[in-house]
Symmetry: C2
Subunit: 470 residues, 2 copies
């Protein structure tokens, strides 16, 4: 008799599989207020790993963390026309505070360009103060009508970088640097997600930006997910907030600003990129728990050896946890660790111990072997490296298999039923984009044939990546 | 001619000195919405160091980080009578979201006992699920009528721990453990602040707690600052949110919960505990920059040697920054680094270089010496250790000098003009506490003569620490 599956199979109902995994791997719950979420400890430990890796890269790119207020005067939002138009429908507004009606309502930040612009204007006087490179880790609120945990929530956690520069070229270079050195590098090398880096069309641009660049990933069902964006804001916010400086030549000039962010949405992307019917599969470089050491049954010698093994692996720089809950069956615990996507499970019982061995189950290779306890750390490092490589290779292979080169809108629509289409942007254009939108298909980004970023909206030869998206 | 002081001298106007240092050391600005603050990069780097140290200790105590929503249904707050009464006057309320009036207004969390209680009730079934040990790093909002940067702001950053236990004794032991192993340890060993750990009187208790314990520090002007609190919540929130479990004996029982927190207020405490008329003095174990290497003037050999020295010190595990801004005078830059409280400044000029030496200025010892570049890292480690010890010793000496042992309310009032008073709690009582409050003096906490925590509100022999406070 076949076991009942722990999760709804992906092939049967992908969205249901996603909901199942969120709940069964104890990643998150829906919050009591519409569209909010509770991130449970295991889900949050994944986010903490993401934060640490992204934060390190942001600091290497020279930006410094700061913190700006949650509450923004409503009047700030209205200073940049496109920005307010883009965000108005999603705002949460505080009208009562300290027991009184407020004279000016305050908005809960949907993003912080406006309030940070106000302070950049105060801090920047001379070209010597530039570039000004800031970042903040914060919560933001955008009221969602169709929320989905991690992917679209009314409140989410993110980092938002905000920088000011002396010239358009300098701002652009920095926005591109963040895109590649922080986001693409993190996603490919840590998340094992082979994102496509491209330029958004004018229609998909951030409200107030002159150019939005994006990292797009393919999920297990062939849909696209926007994993992070980096924006050139031109002088739009500098003009609205008067971020001006005296140039080296003694002229008053407006600064050029950028902004860029990634959010808890990446947790959703990670799940849908690597997960399978048995649960999550977390790339070892990210995994909060890389190896779990499981005592198969209650036995003093086994428990002692599990403990010393954990110490040995910790000393070898492996993120390891022990599972000594022998009151629960080994089978049930094994299922739980597979659900949680821990890359390697070591099962230790009296027989293994007698043989000086341990049973090593590799979540990603799908193998189960008796291996000697002697030299286990070296073997684990090799297995973890191999798992990291395998996940990236699998995701890359899927993306290539499921991306069709097409030349017409009709073909693009067909391809988008199961994956992505690559189509010359000149064959789409603004009208083609509208026709696709009518079928819930979007141009995810534009790329040059060699994979580079198109320098303008209408660069000849640009290719559009077309897909359904989360 | 004496130089004009960079800061208002402490002895002249302590609050003005505090405002000056916040601004001149570039720690923070007032936000545009009343009572909010902008934490600037240097101020935020101090907070990041605090977070890292506290987070490590929280994890060692077995709690796991999670994240609960910013928005709480108004109805949740009203479920625990004392809690809602305590927080109602400070709430910020969202009444409009997504372009519509909300059916039920949502409150911006002033603290998260209620929403976390709701989820603990969902997650806890059996005694096996206990203790449930959670923590979150988050922003909270409490509308302030008399805001002061870092000390009292309408929005602040903090961690809030929330735990549930099988018994009163277990909850109490954990609340006490956090108080000592996380808070007191961090404050004494890292912040170099000799806090007094005690029990709050019933009047000063957290709204909804059965017992509030606190860490109180003496500031440079003799006032007290509450640096952190740990609460036993009894079964108050378990009853309100139905956090129930099946005991080992098969009975349905209510859990016992705790909560505990420290916030960005600690940054204010650090400033007012160690700062002097030249600026901040940051204990080396906390300092984001422990050593600054300053090129005194433009000179290729000097700049090169500064760079290699920075690399050498980084490799020796010292948090070091270089200052090669030779277009600004060395004197002005030296003043800035003193303002920022960096423990050690190394000044390197052509003459030093010729002698194989560097000028070492110790911010805390107040010394300036030519020291050989050879073996400098070892010398720095010793200087940093000595500075850490000296700051704790100075703060301890001040606390002892400025604390008077008294026996009457009148004497306590007199002592509180310049410092703290220790007075038998039986000589104060509820009426004495009210009389003190009329003069803006409070009982900061109760301690036993041996320094231990009084187990009850009316434990015989308890001593009250009485002071003015921030």
């Amino acid at each position: 008799m076949a076991k009942a599956p722990v999760l709804t199979p992906q092939a049967e109902d992908f969205p249901r599989w996603y909901q199942d995994i969120i709940s069964k791997a104890e990643l998150a719950d829906n919050g009591p207020v519409r569209g909010t979420m509770v991130i449970r400890p295991y889900g949050y430990s994944i986010w903490e790993q993401m934060q640490a890796e992204v934060d390190r890269r942001i600091k290497l790119a020279g930006a410094r963390n700061a913190y700006f207020p949650l509450f923004i005067p409503e009047s700030y939002l209205t200073r940049e026309a496109e920005h307010v138009e883009g965000f108005s429908p999603e705002l949460a507004v505080v009208t009562v505070a300290g027991g009184k009606e407020l004279e000016e309502p305050v908005v809960v930040r949907p993003t912080s360009e406006t309030v940070i612009g106000e302070f950049m204007a105060k801090w920047v006087q001379s070209y010597r103060d530039l570039p000004l490179l800031l970042n903040q880790w914060a919560n933001v609120v955008r009221w969602e009508l169709r929320p989905r945990v991690f992917l679209r929530t009314s409140e989410f956690l993110w980092q938002e970088g905000h920088t000011a520069h002396v010239s358009e070229a300098d701002g652009r270079a920095y926005a591109v640097r963040i895109l590649h050195e922080v986001y693409e590098s993190f996603m490919r090398d840590v998340l094992a997600m082979p994102v496509v880096v491209g330029r958004k069309t004018a229609k998909e641009r951030f409200a107030g930006a002159t150019n939005t660049m994006t990292c797009e990933a393919m999920m297990g069902d062939g849909k696209a997910l926007q994993m992070g964006t980096s924006h050139e804001l031109g002088q739009n916010f500098a003009r609205a907030f008067d971020i001006a400086f005296q140039s080296a030549e003694g002229q008053q000039e407006l600064a050029w600003t950028t902004s860029w962010g990634v959010s808890t949405r990446m947790v959703g992307g990670l799940i849908m990129c690597h997960g399978d019917d048995a649960g999550l599969r977390i790339p070892p470089r990210l995994a909060p728990v890389q190896v779990v050491v499981m005592a198969v049954r209650e036995d003093d010698a086994v428990i002692d050896r599990c403990r010393s093994l954990v110490d040995e692996l910790l000393a070898a720089g492996i993120r390891v946890e022990s599972d000594l809950r022998t009151e629960t069956s080994a089978g049930r615990r094994a299922t739980d660790w597979e659900l949680k996507g821990v890359p390697v499970r070591l099962e230790l019982g009296p027989r293994d111990l007698a043989e000086g061995a341990v049973t090593m189950i590799d979540r990603i290779a799908g193998t189960k072997d008796a291996v000697p306890l002697d030299g286990i750390a070296i073997r684990l490092h090799a297995a973890l490296d191999a798992a990291q490589t395998a996940l990236l290779a699998q995701a890359t292979a899927r993306r290539e298999e499921r991306t069709a080169e097409v030349t017409t809108i009709e073909e693009a629509v067909e391809a988008a039923a199961t994956g992505w289409a690559r189509i010359p942007w000149r064959a789409v254009g603004v009208e083609g984009e509208a026709a696709l939108a009518a079928q819930a298909i979007t141009v995810r980004c534009l790329v040059m044939p060699d994979g580079s970023l198109p320098p303008a909206d209408d660069t000849p030869g640009a290719v559009a990546i077309v897909a359904r998206a989360y």
